[in-house]
Every structure is written in C-alpha cells, then in structure tokens.
C-alpha cells in the first residue's frame, strides 16, 4: 500500500482524535494573539471554504461546472444587507432570508439544466453571474447602483456586537463553515449524494437507474446557491461595504481555481484550495504583476498533470457500513473482505 493509503488509514483510525485537535486549535486560535490582519485572513479563508464547498456540490459531485456562483454570493450579500439596512431585520433573520433567496435564484438558474449540457450550461451560468452584476449596478433605487451600500452593521448576539476585536466574527465564520461542512457531508453520504455522483459519472446510465436527473441537478444548484448566499450574507457585514464590483467574474473564476487546485469532488480539497489561494497572494507581493498569470497557470497545469486536484485521490479506505450492519453481515457470513 502506498504512502497516501497508509496515511489515510492512520488518520482514519484516529479520526475522532484528529477532528478534536483541529477543532480545538481553530477554536483556540484567537488566544494565540495573532494580529487582526491574520485573523481577517482566516475569516476570508472560511468564507471561500463555504464558496468552494458550494461549488463542489454542483461542479465536483454533480459534474455541472458553474461559472455563476459569484452571482449567488452577490445575491446573498445584497439581500442580507438590504434587509438589515432598509427593513431593520437582525443579521440572523437576514441570513436566513438571504440564503432562501439565493436558493430560489439557484432554482431559476438550475432550470436550464432541463435542456442544456456541459459547456452550454457553463456559459449560461457565466451569463447569469454577469446579469446579476448588471442588475445590481443599474437598479439604483434598490441596490444603490454603483455607489454600493455602506455602513453595514455587524451581527450581534445577545446584545453583543460580533466584531474583529472580540473575535465574534471569527467564531461566527467558524460556526457557519462548520455547519456548511456538516451539511455537505450529510448530503453527500446519502442517496442524494450518490445520485449527484452518478449524474457526474454517467448521466444516461443514472437515468436508466431511475434517478430523476433533472430534479437532482436543480437540487444541486439550489443547495450550491443557498450556501453561497450564506457566505455572501456573512461577507457583507464583515467588510461593511458592498458594491457591484465586489462580485465580478473574477470571484467565480477564483472559486473555480481554488476548487480545481484542491480537487473537485472532495471536501478536503476545498479547504486546502481556499487556504492556498488566499494565502498565496498575501505572501507573494513581489509577484504582484504575475499573480493572475499564476492563477491561469495553476488551471492549465492542473488540467494537464493532475486534473483530480492536489488532494483529489480516490480514498483507499473501505466503504463504511457502520457497526450495526457489519455485525449483521458477519452473522450471516457475508461480510465483504477488505481490499
């Protein structure tokens, strides 16, 4: 067994321990007294982790490359902001409405999947992202046009405003990312996730197995949009200011680069890709001019040499039946032997 396989087994056998360590480390991070700048980078990484996890649902598992996820992100950010500022709603209710609203837009964008496949669908999603931005730019009465919206209030919990200073924003980002991650994991490990992957692997064969492929593709878009909307609804109060130029095609393209670098179709790759491509520009100021050239190179080289992403290997671990089932299978003598 090769090195990745052995490492996997090592971590998998102690996974509860490692999860606990990672969560404890992340929770204790503010105690190390990092500067606000470092903490801010951590928050941005978690926002992009949510965005890549969202993209992963459509592009990674279901195989429908969306270039319009920046649009959902924008819809989430604007919906939450406008509700907080104009309707005086709290952050929490705005978050829920923004997620729902983004989800509905995901449903609308998912509808063309009834007729479109592959590259065509990708282009429609790209067009969707641009149209969202144009609407934000030109619908002045609602969105305040190119001026954007300023002074977005921070979220508050039990009367305490969650800010950078009290690390409230950091913990909120952490909790949201954790919830999104758990949600994705639950969805993937069910018939829904299996249907997504089957559609990616072979859409016609999936249909022939009775999977309502259109319904699942639309569902993937809705889920992806909802999660992106949550990320947007958190982003807006974090930055305090949004305008249409915060949501250009570059955002969608960056999310795609992150996901591809890490490995579409895996969750670990999403965190890795987001962290790598957020940290990379911060530490490479000397390469300023070449930053986007390098983003491009990443895409080209990955597709050529490692299309599954840096962390995108097929797991060597056995399929997990669960204790109860394993006992039952062993009792009737049909416990499948390990690889």
């Amino acid at each position: 067994m090769d090195i990745t396989g052995r490492l996997e087994r090592f971590f998998s056998q102690r996974r509860i321990f490692f999860f606990a360590v990672v969560i404890a480390l992340l929770a204790a991070l503010p105690a190390f007294g990092f500067s606000r700048y470092i903490m801010r980078i951590c928050i941005v990484i978690s926002i992009y982790s949510m965005l890549t996890l969202a993209l992963n649902l459509v592009a990674g598992y279901t195989g429908q490359l969306s270039m319009g996820n920046g649009g959902f992100y924008a819809i989430g950010a604007y919906t939450a902001t406008l509700l907080m500022i104009n309707a005086g709603l709290s952050f929490w209710s705005s978050l829920v409405v923004a997620a729902a609203f983004a989800g509905i837009s995901g449903f609308l964008l998912g509808l063309p999947t009834l007729r479109l496949k592959g590259s065509y669908l990708t282009i429609v999603t790209l067009g969707f992202g641009e149209i969202v931005r144009m609407i934000l730019m030109n619908w002045d009465t609602v969105t305040n046009g190119t001026l954007g919206v300023r002074n977005i209030p921070l979220p508050s919990l039990f009367g305490v405003s969650l800010s950078f200073t009290n690390h409230g924003l950091y913990y909120l980002a952490l909790v949201l990312t954790a919830l999104v991650s758990v949600f994705c994991a639950l969805v993937i490990n069910s018939k829904v996730g299996r249907a997504f992957i089957a559609i990616r692997e072979d859409e016609i064969a999936a249909q022939m197995m009775g999977i309502k492929t259109v319904r699942y593709k639309v569902l993937a878009f809705v889920l992806s949009a909802t999660i992106s909307g949550i990320a947007g609804a958190f982003y807006a109060p974090m930055v305090g200011y949004i305008d249409p130029n915060s949501f250009t095609f570059d955002i969608s393209s960056q999310i795609i680069s992150m996901a591809i670098l890490g490995g579409l179709g895996t969750m670990r790759g999403m965190y890795f890709g987001a962290a790598a491509l957020i940290v990379f520009p911060e530490v490479s100021r000397f390469l300023m001019d070449y930053r986007f050239v390098i983003y491009g190179l990443i895409l080209v080289l990955m597709m050529r040499f490692r299309p599954q992403g840096l962390l995108g290997w097929r797991t060597r671990l056995p399929y997990r039946f669960g204790k109860v089932l394993e006992r039952q299978l062993a009792a009737e003598g049909s416990l499948p032997p390990l690889l």
Binding site: V44, G148, R150, G240, Y241, S246, F280, V283, S284
Partner: protein, 376 residues
C-alpha cells in the same frame, strides 16, 4: 504525470517559501513608515504606479536631506487592486504595523471609505489624493483628502461654459461607476442651478465600453452645444473622436482627470479645444514644479497628471506635519496636518475642519496638441 505534480508542488512551495521570507525582512533600525495603498495590478494599475512614483520622488528628496526627525523614511507598498475587499484586508495589515504613521490611498472613493474606519479607529492618518466622494473625509478626523472637491471643479467648468464660452445648452455624459454617478449628479445640479444654462441631456456610459455612439446620438439629438464629460482618462479619447465625427462643432469639457498626456495621445485632433480645470499645471515655470515634472518624466516616461502631483504633495504634507509636530505621536501629527499651510506644487494647501483640501484652480485647454493655460 507524477513528475508534473512534483514540479507543480515545488513551484508552489517555492512561492510560499520566498513569500514568507519576504514578509519577514524588516529593517532593524526603525524608520518612519508611510503606507502606499493603491491599485498596482488590475485596470487602474497605471494610476497606482504613477502615484507611487510621485510619492517615491518626494520621499527620496526628504531622505537625501536627512529624513524626518533624524530618521529615514520608508514607503510600504500595498496593492489593493481597487477592490473594497482587498482594501479592507490591507487596512488591517497596515494598522497592525505600529510603525506606520500614515497612508497614501486609496484610489476610488468607495474603496477608500471601506478602509477609512479602520484607520480612524487605530489613529492612522489617511490622505487620499483622489477620493472625491463627499462622505469620505467625514468618516473621521484622521481622514484627509488632498484632492479637489468635485463640486469646486464643476463650479469652474460651469463658469467656463456660461461666461467664457457663452453657450447655453449643456449635456452631461458620465461613466457608470460610484465616482461617475456622484460627480455626474453634482454636475447636473450645478448646471440646473445656473440661470444661463439649460441641461438638455444626462447620459451614462459603461467604463468597459469604448463605443459611446448611442449616448452621443442622444446628446446630439437633444441639441447639446457643450458637453461635460465626467470620466477617467479613458473616456475622453474615444468620446471626442466619436462625437466630433457626428458634430464637429461640439465643445467638450472635462474634469481634472482629463488633464493627462494620454488623452492627447488617445484623442488626437478630436480633443482639440477641450477645457479642464486643474490644480496643477505641468508646463508651469515654477522651479519646484519643473523639478518634479522632469524627475517624474525620467522615471515614468510621461508627464505627471494632477492626481500624481497631489500624491507628491500628500506625502510632503504628511512629512512636513511630522516635522512640525516634532514627534511621531499620532494626535500631534494629526493636529499638525490639520493646521498646515503647505506650499505645494498643486498650489497652497490647507485643510478645513472636515479634512478637505481647499484648492485654487487654473483652466487649461488643449491647443495645437498640448495643454495651455487659458486665461479667459
């Protein structure tokens, strides 16, 4: 395939390693640090780079003369890509470096206003040489604007149209950006308020497009005699060419952004006769201006724009204030900036209580392929 992955990983690792190394290299003797937070990549990179050049010239001048308070001055450069998100992150980075006393930046008003509260909260002086939104300087008493106030520019422009050119029907064409929206609106109000002028049309165009045909058609149909063009340098060349083609007699007027050699290069004959108000005139005989212009040309390959000159002055103002405060205590430096009376190359500058610079304007006009002072 395995080798490809390896190379890729190696390249990434190298970037990260070198990057980390670069981040840690900080001088041991503590200099006076000033941050420059401007777009160095992306669509507005040319502005950022030209402002940086101007700032560097000023800093070198001071350093040659022994620095300030006996310390050398260092510029710390940040690329905000003119994006609010980047700027917010950079502002955090700047305030976490306790040696940074002030910031030159950011580029657009929206971006500056996103970063400003962080500077205000941490008592870092922000001087923007180009933010124009009225709300910017109101964010706090550490936030200064060394730029012309846009309404003051339009007062000059409106005066030119009404009194020098004696034209009546005015059209406005503004780019669809946060700045263009605000500025276009202010221009429209001033034109409407002037009894000698009639506003016949107000068009918006996309900054990403070079085809202004439809907007021009509407302005022409409305009978505009003079058109106030509210945009970046990139608007004027194509606009003038396309407009002159359908109406050779049209009188175009620009804001101070139009005062750059690029628009003559881009606009050629079509920009002949264009008016603009400026606080800085590169062809001036003033020796201080001449010295700056020569040095800037040598380094940047073209004449400095008014905004670049304001960047030069902004650094001068900050250093002069530190000198007169006699310390690096933030409150004292801030007070010194507020009470300064600085004889800059963009005219004598002092700040009002909000933090806005009060500037005198000259009128310039393009004639014979160059800008000349207009004394109408």
């Amino acid at each position: 395939m395995k080798r490809g992955v390896f190379v890729l990983a190696l390249v990434l690792a190298a970037f990260l390693a070198v990057g980390c190394g670069g981040g840690q290299s900080q001088a041991s003797s503590v200099p006076v640090k000033i941050a420059v937070a401007l777009p160095m990549t992306g669509d507005n990179a040319e502005y950022g780079k030209s402002f940086l050049t101007a700032a560097e010239i000023m800093v070198e001048k001071w350093n040659k003369a022994g620095g300030v308070l006996g310390k050398q001055i260092e510029l710390v450069i940040y690329d905000d890509k003119n994006s609010a998100e980047e700027a917010a992150s950079i502002a955090q980075k700047i305030v976490s470096d306790k040696d940074i006393i002030g910031v030159l930046g950011h580029f657009s008003s929206g971006v500056s206003m996103t970063a400003a509260p962080t500077y205000q909260e941490n008592k870092v002086i922000e001087i923007s040489n180009c933010a124009s939104h009225p709300g910017y300087s109101k964010i706090g008493n550490y936030i200064f604007r060394n730029n012309t106030v846009i309404s003051a520019e339009f007062n000059v422009i409106v005066d030119v149209v009404a009194n020098d050119l004696k034209l009546n029907k005015v059209g406005i064409i503004a780019i669809k950006t946060d700045w263009g929206n605000t500025a276009g609106g202010i221009a429209a109000d001033l034109v409407k308020a002037n009894p000698k002028l009639t506003l016949v049309a107000h068009e918006e165009v996309l900054e990403t497009s070079d085809d202004h045909g439809p907007a021009i058609a509407k302005l022409k149909a409305a009978g505009a005699e003079a058109v106030i063009a509210v945009g970046m340098y990139s608007l004027y060349g194509p606009l003038a060419r396309q407009y002159k083609e359908v109406d050779p007699k049209i009188q175009l007027l620009g804001v101070s952004n139009a005062y750059t050699q690029q628009i003559i290069q881009l606009g050629g004959d079509a920009v002949e006769g264009l008016f603009a108000p400026v606080s800085f005139f590169a062809q001036s005989d003033d020796p201080e201006v001449k010295a700056f212009v020569d040095e800037f040309k040598k380094r940047f390959g073209m004449e400095p724009s008014a905004l670049a000159a304001q960047a030069y002055d902004s650094i001068g103002i900050l250093l002069e204030a530190i000198k007169s405060a006699g310390s690096l205590e933030r409150e004292k430096v801030r007070d010194a900036v507020n009470s300064i009376s600085y004889p800059g190359i963009t005219g004598p500058t002092n700040f009002d209580s909000i933090g806005d610079a009060d500037k005198k304007f000259q009128k310039v006009r393009i004639q014979g392929g160059k800008f000349i002072q207009y004394k109408g």
